[in-house]
């Protein structure tokens, strides 16, 4: 087979390519130049090439603080998703048939149910008079309601809820690929089930853990709806800041700079991840 020639069928991609090129790629490039523009409340956006926006972003501790908060939230969400997602993925490899289909459906439901609905649900649950706080007070764990809504805790709960399905899917896929004979082999060689899990299953699911973590982390870094409803202007994250700059302060150039730094951060993480999995030894071991 000649791999050097473009098959005619590859031209079928052109319409999608044009659409994304014009309405997605071109605007992204325009945003890049916008981020170097100036802005004043009186005269609005002023064309030019200035680094002012970036200087402001990297020197003002207010903005740095919001980046740090977004980073912190994302790290915690990733860890929680890992802790919850691994056992669930493992559970899914052990059940079959109708039970599996049903569990899978529920696991995926946060991704499919409307974002506003799901977040509104957490809004009701996390409020000072919500189900969770009422239970906490009733059980005597605390005298006063715990601040869950409009706090980092609330955002973390909401994000973990919507992103954990991605972690489950990713780990489940890598657990499914493993050869059951490997665990049996370890057992004939004297490994008890716990050892066999630690020595064989866990290391072999590393690709799934890594892929899932990168996905969850980048998604929570750039999440908007959940932190907007559960934190809003009381607990700002980067994406919310971009929204405010664009639709409230109307300082588009600065909003663009914020957005690009966010993109840069997430892309770097994804690129580093790809470097890791493309490395010779990793590829050799986890094919």
């Amino acid at each position: 087979m000649n791999t050097e020639k473009w098959p005619r069928a590859a031209l079928l991609a052109l319409p999608a390519l044009f659409w994304l090129g014009i309405f997605f790629l071109v605007p992204l490039i325009l945003i890049l130049s916008l981020s170097f523009y100036g802005f004043s409340p009186m005269e609005g956006v002023q064309a030019g090439i200035k680094l002012d926006n970036y200087v402001k972003l990297f020197t003002d501790s207010y903005y740095i603080g919001i980046f740090v908060r977004t980073f912190r939230i994302s790290i915690i969400v990733t860890i929680l998703c890992l802790l919850l997602g691994y056992p669930e993925a493992y559970y899914l490899t052990r059940v079959q048939g109708r039970v599996k289909a049903l569990v899978m459906m529920i696991v995926l439901s946060p991704l499919l149910i409307s974002a506003v609905t799901r977040t509104f649900g957490w809004f009701i649950l996390l409020g000072n008079n919500g189900v969770i706080n009422n239970t906490i007070v009733k059980l005597g764990l605390s005298d006063t309601p715990v601040k869950l809504l409009y706090s980092e805790t609330g955002i973390i709960i909401g994000l973990t809820h919507v992103l954990v399905p991605l972690m489950v899917l990713s780990i489940y896929a890598s657990l499914q690929r493993r050869d059951p004979a490997l665990v049996r082999a370890a057992e004939t060689l004297g490994a008890n089930p716990v050892r066999a899990f630690l020595e064989i299953t866990l290391p072999l699911s590393l690709p799934g853990i890594l892929a899932g973590s990168v996905l969850v982390f980048t998604m929570s870094m750039s999440a908007f709806v959940t932190p907007a409803v559960l934190g809003g202007s009381r607990v700002r994250v980067v994406a919310y800041l971009v929204y405010e700059e664009f639709l409230q302060s109307l300082n588009w150039p600065f909003g663009a700079a914020l957005a690009l730094v966010l993109v840069l951060l997430t892309t770097t993480i994804v690129l580093v991840y790809h470097r890791v999995i493309e490395r010779g030894r990793w590829k050799e071991v986890f094919r």
């Binding site: 082999a185 370890a186 057992e187 004939t188 004297g190 066999a196």
Partner: protein
Amino acid sequence: MAKLELDKVVKKFDGSLVVDQLSLTINDGEFVSLLGPSGCGKTTTLSMIAGFLQPDGGEIRIGGKNVTELPPYKRNTGMVFQNYALFPHMTVAQNVAFGLKMRKVSAADIAPRVKKALDLVKLPHTADRYPRQLSGGQQQRIAIARALVIEPEILLLDEPLSNLDAKLREEMRIELREIQRRVGITTVFVTHDQAEALAMSDRIAVMHRGIIVQEGPPVAIYDRPATEFVADFIGATNVIDGEFIGSHGGYGTLVVKNGLHIKGIVTLGSQFSGLGKALIRPEKIVVSTEARPSENSLPGRVEHCVFLGMLIHYVVSTEAGRLSVICQNSGGTFKTVGMDVVLSWENDSTLLIPAEAKQ
């Protein structure tokens, strides 16, 4: 190294019997094959010996010790899997060392034992490579080294040669057997390949529908199959139906529908009467153009002739039905299709069995 005993072992899946009251004793250092078609229960039996499956009845003893209730990691068995099951995230040396590590052997002792094991399978230079960097045959040897390094009491082989190409498979048959002899380990070999079982085993247990239908050394299994199933599964065989009319001195006679008499050995005692079958191996029949002195002979006509290189395969139609004949290609002229020939064979090459022994 130890004796392995299976005592009336039973296994059911969803209520149906997969292994039915199976008893088998394998002596110290013996190489025994479990041979049968897929679904005959041989793999299930092996899984119970290894401890992956719990029998629903009966007992398994290794070296006289009852291991029926023990989990796999507490039985001292070494196993080679069909796809080798080498750990892809560990080097060859780490793979081989795994069992020793689990047994808490000190690092200082592990290294020389791993080296010795790799020497045994003639792959000392692969220690630092990953399994996927090795060829199928090399992976196979590492799997053997990994199973043997822990000095197990029993070696279990689950169709270990089936993923190799034909030529390598024949080499590995000899090599595997040689390693087994040198180590002197009691071995259970599961296979569906009759040639493999015949070539390697001290003893073969032919399994069918969850039971052992015949057990014995390869020559006995081949030359004296107890049932039509065994005869058919191991090598090819001609089957001629007829009625049994009596026996004398270990030989019996069968009358075929048109009055023809066929004489042969009766193994299952001489009591049976009624319908019977004569089993004759194709290579035991001689084809000639004219009658020659022989204990049994039958005229016929060549219907097909297939040239196989070393061998020639004829299908000859006779009064007793179509018979397969296999001759050595010893030069000379071949019989051609349509030629009238005479088939002849000895009584000792014919086996008479009762018709109902269909198992």
